[in-house]
Symmetry: C2
Subunit: 206 residues, 2 copies
DNA sequence: AAAGATCGGTAACAGTGTTACCGACAAGAA
DNA sequence: TTCTTGTCGGTAACACTGTTACCGATCTTT
């Protein structure tokens, strides 16, 4: 139940909310997390700082919106990986897409996993969304288990191992701890190494 | 060439410098990186904010000192791992010590590897120190290669893979992405999984 | 003893997130 | 229609951050 005014107000809110969010997104990818100040975002969006507080409840609310946006983009990339080949090849492609996303939008990755927005901790609902995205990886692993291309562990367990490994690899790569030439082959080698442990015995090559 | 005054001054500097650094270290482990403000550190050390600028050249200088302190502590832990058993068992122990350090002093780990101090990037000399610590891991891997307990890769390469994996595992664990009960066995499983890829064929146990 | 230099404390500056105030505007009541 | 009510947003302030200009105090040098 809402009066027409409140409804219009809400629609007006949603459009200016989108404008603020767009400004923040643009600022994040173009100038990095340090440029995400309330005043700057408001200036870019053409409104006052107060709006950010009424619409998002403060900077943390906007941070969470960006956090969710990052997971949405990651999820989009993971979903875009084709199912055509075998489950194991697809799993490798999913892991590749994870890295590709982190390298394509490192500032989002910093926001999501490296605490780039000081003082921000994701809330409960946001955490659920993150877990949902992670579920895509678990599903890919589960498909391999069902097809018999992986064995010897639970899907959640193997997915955790893969996530630890790729997260570590990507984090260090983003912080440019590695030579650029080494990064890509080492990423593949790390993924295959972890998976080798769970290959059926007759499949282990080298 | 230095006058006695300058010498005394320098000694006086070193003692107050140590006091400031101690205050910062205590503040870091007791209240986390967010408490590391120039005013707060100066207050705890019983001096003015100006001192931090004359002695460390600003907050970044102090941040770098804390960064180096973190690597010194990590290095101490890695060096404390005994050599008694075989190279491979020792390598596993080194990896365990890495995690133990991160869990014992998570705020140092955040400073060193998770960019917990906004705006701080380690300088060149500090990076060399970090590489030196990393060299301990490479040496442990090299010992395994020489003993024939690992094969099929260069020491630096295998050490990189291990570092990616353990860093990812520890980072996610610090951010409490895992159930506490799962973390420890999964860490071991991850380490052994990566190493399995490089075990001599006759050593691979399921 | 007087002149010169260096160090450190005070107080300010520009920035941050946040909020109290107040005017403007639309909804509902008389 | 007119008046009251309430909500929303802009301005300006608050408390905080890192940083620095000023200036007095202290020690070296002449």
């Amino acid at each position: 139940m809402s009066t027409p005014y409140q409804q219009a107000q809400r629609e007006g809110q949603s459009v200016v909310r989108a404008a603020v969010l767009d400004a923040a997104k643009l600022l994040l990818v173009s100038e990095g997390p340090a440029a995400l100040t309330v005043r700057r975002i408001a200036a870019e969006a053409g409104c006052s700082t107060k709006v950010i507080y009424t619409l998002f409840g403060g900077k943390d609310g906007l941070s969470e919106a960006l956090w969710l946006e990052g997971f949405a983009r990651l999820e989009q990339r993971l979903l875009a990986v084709p199912h055509e080949e075998g489950p194991l090849d697809r799993l490798m492609a999913v892991l590749g897409a994870y890295r590709a996303y982190a390298l394509a939008e490192p500032d989002y990755y910093r926001v999501m996993f490296l605490g780039a927005l000081p003082g921000f901790r994701a809330g409960e609902e946001a955490t659920r969304t993150a877990k949902h995205t992670f579920g895509l990886l678990v599903a890919s692993v589960a498909a391999c288990l069902e097809a018999g291309e992986l064995t010897g562990g639970a899907a959640a367990e193997i997915a955790d191992l893969l996530w630890m490994a790729v997260h570590g690899a990507v984090s260090l790569e983003i912080m440019s701890y590695f030579e650029e030439a080494d990064a890509s082959p080492r990423y593949r080698l790390l993924c295959t190494s972890v998976l080798t442990r769970f290959l059926p015995a007759h499949d282990r090559r080298s």
